[in-house]
């Protein structure tokens, strides 16, 4: 297992270097001179310009600039936001819990509902239930989620007035963040109604972000389950006289879930891409909205740092999924 882990880690190194080059290059390619951007509308003298160029190291050769950048990154210095003047890493760490909270809720919803529905559809293959569920899953898979979010807002926030339109919690409540996760913090605060408010803010974004993963997981579970149900050992289990619940739940599901685990892991990239749209629609203060805002404000330091951090998160999660896959499926390790 250790060798498996080390070989996977070794594969990540060149990818990480590539990712850092991309993040580094992007900023040099963004239109507009970052130093003139710093100066704002007042402009600056030629001497001051050269001075600042030296401060930021823009007068050195690109390779040297890159190496300095890499050194800074590896020591945890990702630069400072041009707009807020705060370190990029601090901003990321403040906003990331909001995205994690939303993503975890979305993937939980998608997994629980998706696996259940997928198993039921496979067991009743060809029935109206199967056809209906797979039809709905394909619609979900084809959904433009930014539109889906707007529709839910029209229905639940506009017409029914059940849920709030945006944000993470009502302005009535204030408490210092402890974990950064609003559901937990609101409980810890002990304020009546705070948890309900946080929950009601979370419902619609969770549904929107969870829709596509849900559809993918349901489809994948169904096809994996169908494959397993045709295997000999399932027939043997049935022949031994085991009840259908035991056959499906114990024998088939365990093996069918192996490819599903990979699918769930692959949804992390989908979730983070979806978070860009979902957070924008619901004004959810996470890293997706942060990146979009920074692109529009041309906050190149944030775009650069954010790209690197988000890619790093995805690479780490993919590594974890690989390891998990090696654990549930020992054949892979060899």
């Amino acid at each position: 297992m250790l060798r498996f882990l080390l070989s996977r880690l070794a594969l990540l190194v060149p990818t990480f270097i590539g990712v850092s080059i991309v993040a580094f290059a992007f900023v040099r390619l963004l239109p507009g001179d970052p130093i003139l951007l710093l100066a704002g509308e007042r402009g600056m003298s030629a001497e001051r310009y050269e001075q600042l160029q030296a401060v930021y190291g823009f007068d050195r050769p690109l390779v040297v600039q890159y190496l300095i950048y890499l050194r800074d990154v590896l020591t945890g210095d990702l630069g400072t936001s041009i707009v807020t003047k705060r370190p990029v890493l601090d901003e990321f760490l403040t906003l990331f819990p909001a995205t994690i909270e939303l993503s975890v809720c979305a993937i939980l919803l998608a997994t629980v509902v998706g696996v259940t529905v997928g198993v039921l559809a496979a067991v009743r293959r060809g029935s109206w239930f199967d056809q209906g569920i797979m039809g709905v899953a394909l619609v979900g898979y084809s959904m433009p989620i930014f539109w889906w979010g707007l529709l839910l807002i029209i229905l639940f926030s506009g017409m029914l007035q059940w849920t709030p339109v945006s944000g993470r919690i009502s302005l009535l409540y204030y408490f210092p963040p402890v974990t950064g996760f609003m559901l937990i913090d609101s409980l810890l605060s002990g304020q009546a109604g705070a948890f309900r408010s946080a929950l009601s803010h979370l419902v619609l974004p969770t549904i929107v972000l969870g829709t596509i993963p849900l559809a993918v997981i349901a489809r994948q579970t169904r096809s994996a389950m169908l494959e397993v149900l045709g295997e000999d050992y399932v027939r043997t289990a049935r022949a031994k006289g085991l009840g259908p619940l035991r056959v499906v739940g114990l024998h088939a599901l365990r093996n069918a879930l192996i490819p599903v685990v990979t699918t769930i892991g692959l949804q992390v990239g989908v979730l983070l891409a979806g978070a860009i749209l979902t957070e924008t629609i619901f004004s959810w203060p996470g890293i997706g909205k942060w990146m979009v805002d920074s692109v529009f404000k041309r906050d190149y330091a944030v775009v650069q740092g954010g790209l690197l951090l988000i890619a790093g998160v995805i690479m780490l999660v993919n590594l974890l999924v690989d390891l998990l896959y090696g654990l549930v499926n020992p054949r892979i390790r060899h």
């Binding site: 080059i21 539109w147 889906w148 029209i154 506009g158 690479m315």
Partner: protein, 308 residues
């Protein structure tokens, strides 16, 4: 009996009729495609959308960018205050929704076609080179693709568009670039599997050159999964281009692109449901039709699915 023997004998002697074989393969493909009812429905909807896009100037009752100050935010005809002159209502500056939706079909299909063409061409070329030559070229290409895949596709496309400038063409280039790794991986995998097969060796022994081996011997046998992936890329490209348009980085107003229309409609969501509902519905129907077709294609092209 004697006649039958003669017929099969002449069949063996006659040169293989390439056209007849192709027709037989197409017929078989069509048979399996039609087994999937959803795929056939998807195909017909898709053909309908193509028709609408081609004949947009004839079908649209108004110009898609003509503003009418006397008809701002008019509801669809079945609601109170709506009129048949604007069957699906008007937007905030009095443009006819139906006409904009009809013209929007052109943009979505165009986006899908351009993105698929760009990403398939470049992806297949890179994948073919990587899988055929192996060695350092393979390592370099695979690593490069890993880097692209390490970013969420929409985020990478968003930042790319920010660099090269917002607009429909740039959005398509960015999306094609982030889709390309899927085609590289798929082609590379199939090429590596096919390269060692006997027919390739036979062809090489017969004196086929490198390019002939790559493009005429190996590539045609790798096409099935590529076609399925291309269908998926077509629908994803429409979704992602609409998402970029929605974020303000895709097609720019007043272009009647569906995602851009949604972005313009956002502020009216609680006042005028139709400006939000219809463009999204158009995206959903188009993408759904293509995905239905994709499922059917996968079933028809995957030998594992063929039973009986």
């Amino acid at each position: 009996m004697a006649q039958e023997g003669a017929a099969s004998d002449s069949q063996f002697r006659a040169p293989v009729d390439a056209w007849a074989m192709r027709r037989a393969m197409l017929a078989e493909f069509w048979f399996y495609f039609c087994q999937n009812r959803g795929a056939v429905i998807g195909l017909f909807v898709f053909l309908a959308i193509i028709t609408v896009a081609v004949f947009a100037p004839l079908l649209a009752p108004h110009s898609p960018i003509l503003q009418n100050r006397d008809a701002l935010l008019l509801p669809p005809f079945w609601e109170e205050g709506g009129s048949l002159a604007y069957p699906l209502g008007t937007d905030a500056v009095g443009r006819d929704m139906l006409s904009r939706l009809i013209y929007g079909a052109r943009f979505s299909l165009f986006i899908g076609m351009v993105v698929v063409t760009l990403s398939v061409t470049s992806g297949v070329l890179l994948g073919l080179a990587a899988g055929y030559f192996r060695g350092w070229l393979d390592v370099a290409i695979v690593r490069l693709m890993d880097v692209i895949l390490a970013f969420p596709s929409l985020l990478l496309a968003l930042v790319l568009v920010a660099i090269i400038g917002p607009g429909l063409i740039n959005a398509m280039i960015a999306i094609a670039l982030v889709y390309q790794p899927h085609f590289v991986r798929l082609t590379r995998g199939s090429v590596m599997a096919e390269r060692g097969r006997e027919y390739v060796t036979a062809s090489r022994v017969a004196g086929a050159g490198r390019l002939r081996l790559m493009f005429l011997t190996i590539l045609p046998n790798c096409l099935a999964p590529l076609i399925v992936q291309a269908t998926l890329a077509f629908s994803s490209a429409i979704l992602d281009a609409a998402a970029l348009g929605f974020l303000g980085m895709g097609a720019q107003p007043p272009t009647p692109e569906w995602g851009t229309m949604l972005a313009e409609a956002r502020e009216f969501i609680l006042r005028a449901w139709w400006v939000v509902t219809f463009p999204g519905l158009a995206i959903l129907i188009t993408v759904l039709a293509i995905n239905l077709m994709g499922d059917g294609l996968r079933d028809a092209l995957d030998p594992k699915m063929k039973r009986g």
